[in-house]
């Protein structure tokens, strides 16, 4: 679950990581009531990347200019996301930009600290072109990231004197919140030296969805569409796409290969729902409801290979909640015989070959079924 910059900064402040003074507004006029030193920066609060290049960040020298520019940003569409909130923060005079993050590293199977003295928006470019400018160290989860580790990283970025201590305290705090909050990513870019201070100018925080059960007091998940949120409440994994074939499968790999097959045969998925391992009749009911509720769905493709999932459970769920759109079903694996029998009794034919079934789904979506 991704948090907005302002939400992440509220958490940073609780962990004593210096951030600019600022406030969030939903309406331009609210800015006039804020007790802030000018100039200020107006920053669109969206979850997609690249808001700066899209015009979502502006500087304002005085309140009237601030309100005017806020009007321009609020309501803006950035990569499909509508701007409903604006972070208004006191501008700082940045002397140097650094990069600092903690994230999960698949290769070392650990959290890693990633840092660079070349921070700023082009950090990915830095990583690609001059990887030697990126410091990356795995963290032993039992020993943790200690103050001396923080000082070592600070020195490798060139921090000295009082700034070294300031950097180290920020790095320690950022690690602490990464583990406390089960963050998959906790990033400060840029971490700036500004006005004799080391300060987090931007903030990104992604919480591990699997750990949300033990993370209380977090803001609501805003990354999801309404249907995605419904799916989440039923522990189903659902993603929206822009075609016309609704897809239900089990297992991430199978689901992805299902999309690949539809694409291969000229079809366009409208969405895709992974019922996961050991899907029950009830899960199947919810799955059918969610994928077919999306406007513009013209056909349904169900691709199930039973392992921990049992074909008879899937079949019962399907028969009890028959969808309104034409469908192509592929069903094989654990309890396959029982499943086919249940479908047959309801007059539903199912394929064993996934490619055959995918082709049929494409035909159905074209209205030629």
């Amino acid at each position: 679950m991704k948090l907005h910059e302002y939400q992440a900064k509220e958490i940073f402040a609780r962990y004593s990581i210096p951030v600019q003074k600022g406030a969030v507004v939903r309406h331009p006029e609210e800015i006039l009531g804020l007790d802030l030193q000018y100039p200020v920066v107006l920053k669109a609060q969206v979850l997609v990347g690249g808001r700066g290049k899209a015009g979502g960040i502006k500087l304002a020298e005085k309140p009237s200019e601030s309100v005017e520019k806020a009007r321009a940003i609020l309501g803006m569409d950035i990569k499909g996301e509508r701007v409903t909130r604006l972070l208004v923060a006191e501008a700082v005079d940045i002397q140097q930009e650094y990069y600092l993050a903690f994230t999960v590293d698949r290769a070392t199977r650990c959290l890693v600290v990633v840092a660079s003295a070349s921070g700023g928006i082009d950090i990915e470019e830095v990583a690609r072109r001059t990887p030697e400018k990126i410091v990356k160290e795995p963290i032993d989860p039992f020993l943790g990231f200690r103050p001396f580790h923080a000082r070592q990283i600070g020195r490798r970025l060139g921090f000295a004197d009082a700034h070294l201590g300031a950097f180290a305290r920020i790095a320690e705090s950022l690690y602490q919140l990464t583990t406390d909050l089960d963050a998959e990513l906790a990033e400060i870019n840029p971490l700036a030296v500004a006005g004799g201070q080391v300060i987090a100018v931007d903030a990104k925080l992604i919480i591990d969805d699997n750990a949300l059960y033990r993370q209380k007091g977090l803001p609501e998940n805003e990354e999801l569409t309404g249907l995605e949120r419904d799916a989440r409440t039923h522990d189903l994994s659902y993603v929206e796409l822009d075609g016309d074939i609704a897809v239900i499968g089990n297992g991430a790999g199978l689901v992805m290969s299902t999309l690949d097959m539809l694409d291969h045969f000229g079809g366009r998925p409208a969405n895709v729902l992974d019922v996961g391992g050991g899907a029950s009749e009830e899960a199947m009911k919810q799955a059918l409801d969610i994928v077919t509720r999306k406007p513009g769905v013209r056909a349904l493709f169900i691709n199930i290979f039973g392992g921990i999932t049992r074909c008879d459970d899937i079949a019962r769920g399907l028969v009890a909640n028959l969808p309104q759109v034409p469908m192509s079903v592929r069903l094989t694996g654990t309890n396959e015989e029982e499943g086919r029998q249940i479908l047959q009794q309801a007059g539903i034919s199912a394929s064993v070959d996934p490619e055959e079934a995918a082709k049929k789904a494409v035909v159905l979506a074209r209205g030629q079924g």
Binding site: E184, A252, M256, L259
Partner: protein
């Protein structure tokens, strides 16, 4: 021959009294696997499918000689169960449970590394050595002893490939489901090394998916060390970038992690890459001596 598990594997099922644990214990027994014990704290002394249940792994290991574990306990207790299995020196520890917080998985992997033991998963279907042993949830009827080793990040795609290999009369040595989470105990490279060494394995099927760089790393290993034919498939060619496809392991990160990058690396390393899962078995056939 087989890799990782065989007739000498004595399986302990952690969480044996749960719905999945009970069902798959029965399936493993039906497959012929030696499931010798189960655990379920507070239920020691009972039996499930005639398998004795203990309160702790330590007792189960002492009493029954269990030397490997299969974990079905719910996500919030899975880290503790895995640490318990590692502390009792069981290996491999196969973690079926999905939705385990990644920082819990990190602890498990670090502890296993400290103790020099092997973890498979989490969020995986387990391992099956056709005709010999099974730990996990792969459907029994798919398998037939044969010539191909299968390793995959995806459960259901593994079943697809195994079913097709069996139907084609080729059969399998061992199928290994690595699991789809970002932090997993056993990687493609580990599996490739095992299959390359195993005399019964004549060809290897590798099933990857978008996200991470495990396939690229596998490609480098194939180029350097693998002399047996490798047929690969990478799922997610058409998945939208940045969208999560069911589990955290499938988030595209930066320039690496795309299907294109993986397919390119594997092809360059000499692996044959199928465009759809249905093509895999045909390619295996073509490359078997």
């Amino acid at each position: 021959m087989a890799v990782l598990i065989d007739e000498n594997t004595r399986v302990l099922v952690q969480g044996i009294t749960g719905y999945q644990g009970e069902f798959h214990t029965k399936q493993m027994l039906a497959f012929g696997a030696k499931v010798v014990a189960g655990t379920s704290p507070g239920k020691g002394g009972t039996r499930v499918h005639d398998v004795p249940v203990f309160d702790t792994v330590a007792e189960a290991a002492v009493e029954t000689g269990a030397n490997a574990s299969c974990i079905f306990v719910p996500a919030r207790f899975a880290m503790d169960a895995a640490l318990e299995a590692i502390a009792a020196r069981l290996s491999p520890v196969v973690v079926i449970t999905e939705h385990i917080p990644v920082q819990d998985a990190i602890q498990v992997m670090t502890y296993a590394r400290q103790k020099g033991l092997r973890v498979i998963g989490p969020n995986c279907p387990g391992i099956t050595s056709a005709g010999k042993a099974k730990i996990g949830i792969m459907p029994n009827h798919l398998f037939r002893p044969g010539r191909v080793g299968v390793v995959s990040r995806s459960g259901t795609l593994t079943y697809e490939i195994v079913a097709a290999l069996t139907q084609a009369g080729i059969g399998e040595t061992t199928a290994i489901g690595l699991g789809g989470d970002p932090v997993i105990g056993t990687t493609f490279v580990d599996a490739l090394e095992l299959f390359q060494k195993d005399p019964a394995t004549e060809a290897i099927v590798l099933i990857g998916e978008i996200g991470g760089s495990a396939e690229e790393t596998a490609a480098a290993y194939i180029k350097a060390r693998v002399t047996k034919p490798v047929v690969a498939y990478v799922a997610g060619r058409t998945a939208p970038p940045g969208k999560r496809m069911g589990h955290a392991g499938a988030v595209i990160a930066g320039t690496e992690g795309t299907a294109a990058s993986k397919v390119e690396a594997l092809s360059a390393a000499g692996a044959v890459v199928a465009e759809l899962p249905g093509q895999v078995v045909g390619l295996v056939k073509a490359h078997l001596r």
